[in-house]
């Protein structure tokens, strides 16, 4: 530039080489790359989903949901027992793993401090989250099925599944607790609150949405699991629901207790195992059944997630 500088304090032009055009192009290229990856992943998912829907949608019917599985007549087969088995497993796994997981996360994050023991426990939980699910199946087989003599029951399955999802729940809940700003804890302590009051009234409500997300993801993963349940002996052909119909029992608390204890120790199957069994059969009718089963499984998972999201939204609205 031969003209006078724009501003007397403009630095000499050779100190910076901004290369603005190149930087912008790089940014745009990276954005395009990310978009491509996203579309690619979604595309594969869409193709899979479309294939399943095409193959299975005609087979999804009230009959399919309400009937028991059938080996001889695929046209009459349903997955009632598998749906019930999955629901039983999901509810029981949640009942076992959520209180334990939240308790462990709160203890580790709010009470344990940085002691050597606490760090040892944290390290192990992180490792447990990465252990393959089949190993949990073997553990469940050894401990719950054989040693505790729970047999190949709903209870054994739920306990095994709880072990499987616990590390994920603990880690996600700890992350949620750690994300609560420490200024909130300080404010509460400075007002003469005990640690429990601080945690109960301020830290937990602030961490709850994150915790819920972690729990939903963990339980969803558990519901989709097949391998550990095959190991502990969930069956692929179960022509009854756990405990049998509730109407078979007297409408008293004793009846309810009988139903519950029968159900807990009944044999069971779950949806992924039922689907796996159908896929493995040679007749094409069963392949359509498998596709229909996948659609129902996805529906159940979506329903559970939607429920959890709704609970979370309700909690958040209530808090302000």
């Amino acid at each position: 530039m031969s003209a006078a500088p724009l501003h007397s304090r403009t630095p000499p032009p050779d100190v910076f080489r901004p290369r603005l055009a190149l930087r912008r192009r790089l940014g745009a290229a990276f954005a395009a790359f990310c978009l491509l990856l996203t579309l690619g992943a979604l595309g594969v998912l869409f193709v899979l989903l479309a294939q399943v829907l095409l193959a299975g949608w005609p087979w999804v019917s009230r009959k399919f949901i309400a009937n028991m599985p059938s080996v001889l007549t695929p046209e009459q087969a349903g997955m009632k027992s598998a749906i019930y088995g999955t629901l039983w497993l999901a509810v029981l796994t949640g009942l076992f793993s959520v209180p334990v997981g939240l308790g462990a996360a709160i203890y580790l994050e709010e009470y344990a401090g940085r002691s050597r023991l606490a760090r040892f426990i944290q390290f192990n939980i992180a490792n447990l989250a990465g252990v393959p699910s089949i190993v949990y199946g073997m553990l469940g087989l050894a401990v719950f099925v054989r040693w505790l003599r729970c047999d190949r029951s709903v209870l054994s399955g739920a306990l095994t599944m709880s072990l499987l999802v616990l590390p994920v729940i603990i880690i996600a809940s700890r992350e949620a607790l750690a994300a609560v700003p420490s200024s909130i804890r300080q404010a509460a302590f400075a007002l003469g609150a005990t640690r429990w009051q601080t945690v109960r009234h301020h830290v937990l409500p602030a961490a709850l949405p994150g915790m819920m997300t972690g729990i939903i993801l963990a339980l969803s993963r558990g519901i989709g699991e097949t391998a550990p349940l095959i190991l502990i002996g969930a069956l692929s052909y179960v022509p009854f629901v756990p405990g049998g119909p509730l109407s078979d029992y007297p409408l008293t608390s004793t009846g309810l207790r009988q139903w519950l204890s029968t159900a807990l120790f009944d044999q069971f199957t779950v949806m992924p195992i039922q689907i796996y069994d159908w896929v493995a059969r040679p007749q094409p009718e069963f392949h359509h059944l498998a596709a229909a089963g996948i659609i129902v499984l996805l529906g159940v998972l979506l329903g559970m997630n939607a429920t959890a999201v709704a609970i979370r939204a309700w909690q958040q609205r209530r808090r302000t």
Binding site: I184, Q186, A187, F189, A190, L191, G192, H201, A206, T320
Partner: protein
């Protein structure tokens, strides 16, 4: 007033059970008997001594300012007075802090009860993500306040000069208030517990000049009922609002005197250098 409340100045604004028997009723104390007193206090984080051998007396119903450059230990000293340092790892305290004769780090002191008596306002406004009302009401409720909570909330918000601005949105989120309003809410929250002492850790450093002026006015009014210890790196603020000023440098207490004296006739050359802006 009940009989117990007559003897104990901590209960003059009654509603809470007493924490411990005071050494002597306030009426018989000499007027300048310190309410908080550090004796050869040293606070270390690992091998680093943040506060070195500080002996400082805080007189009642006055504003004591602690000034000094960043990292001089003034916040550490302040946070030791209500044991908010307990949450820092590797912290060691030697020497003593006496609050009305009670050794704060001694076995007879429950930090939870101490913090109700010695309240704190932080540098950044930190209201709870709840309604304005719940922000003020929570601490009295968990500490077993026996009076009418709604009245206490109004009274505290009035004392903090915030009532007129929030009386129509008591049940809106406190996070919707401006920064200056949030800080006054934090002050209201602290005085709702009717503390003895209010510790303020650079309460205006995140605020604009107008909000700062309002907080300073408020501090000036509060000292008729509360003892205020104010940490600030703003010397003009110390000069404006405090009765006594302590100057700290590199963890040591260099000088403490009436604010007028500190700013007009500093006794130590380092104090003079600092207040004339030669360093810091």
């Amino acid at each position: 007033m009940t009989g117990a409340a007559d003897t104990s100045p901590g209960l003059r604004r009654s509603g809470f059970a007493p924490m411990f028997e005071l050494r002597a009723p306030a009426a018989t104390l000499p007027p300048r008997e310190p309410i908080i007193c550090t004796e050869a206090l040293t606070i270390q984080y690992g091998h680093f001594a943040a506060v070195k051998n500080v002996s400082l007396a805080i007189p009642p119903c006055q504003v004591t300012a602690i000034i000094g450059p960043s990292g001089c230990g003034k916040s550490t000293l302040l946070r030791a007075m209500n044991r908010m340092n307990d949450f820092v790892r590797n912290m060691q305290v030697t020497g003593r802090i006496l609050y009305r004769g009670l050794d704060v780090y001694g076995p007879g002191c429950d930090p939870v009860e101490l913090r109700r008596r010695v309240g704190m306002v932080f540098q950044k406004p930190n209201p709870f993500p709840k309604s304005v009302f719940k922000n003020v009401a929570w601490a009295p409720v968990i500490n077993g306040y026996r009076g009418k909570v709604a009245e206490l909330v109004e009274q505290s918000l009035r004392r903090a000069a915030l009532w007129d601005e929030v009386k129509d949105k008591l049940h809106d989120s406190a996070l919707d208030l401006s920064g200056g309003q949030q800080q006054r809410l934090c002050i209201a929250r602290a005085i709702a517990l009717q503390p003895d002492v209010l510790l303020m850790d650079e309460p205006c450093s995140a605020l604009d000049p107008i909000a700062t002026a309002r907080i300073e006015d408020l501090i000036d009014q509060l000292k008729s009922e509360y003892t205020v210890v104010l940490v600030t790196h703003n010397m003009q603020q110390a000069a404006r609002v405090s009765d006594r000023t302590a100057f700290m440098y590199l963890g040591e207490l260099i000088e403490v005197n009436d604010t007028n004296a500190i700013f007009t006739r500093p006794g130590n050359p380092r104090t003079q250098d600092y207040i004339t802006g030669r360093f810091g």
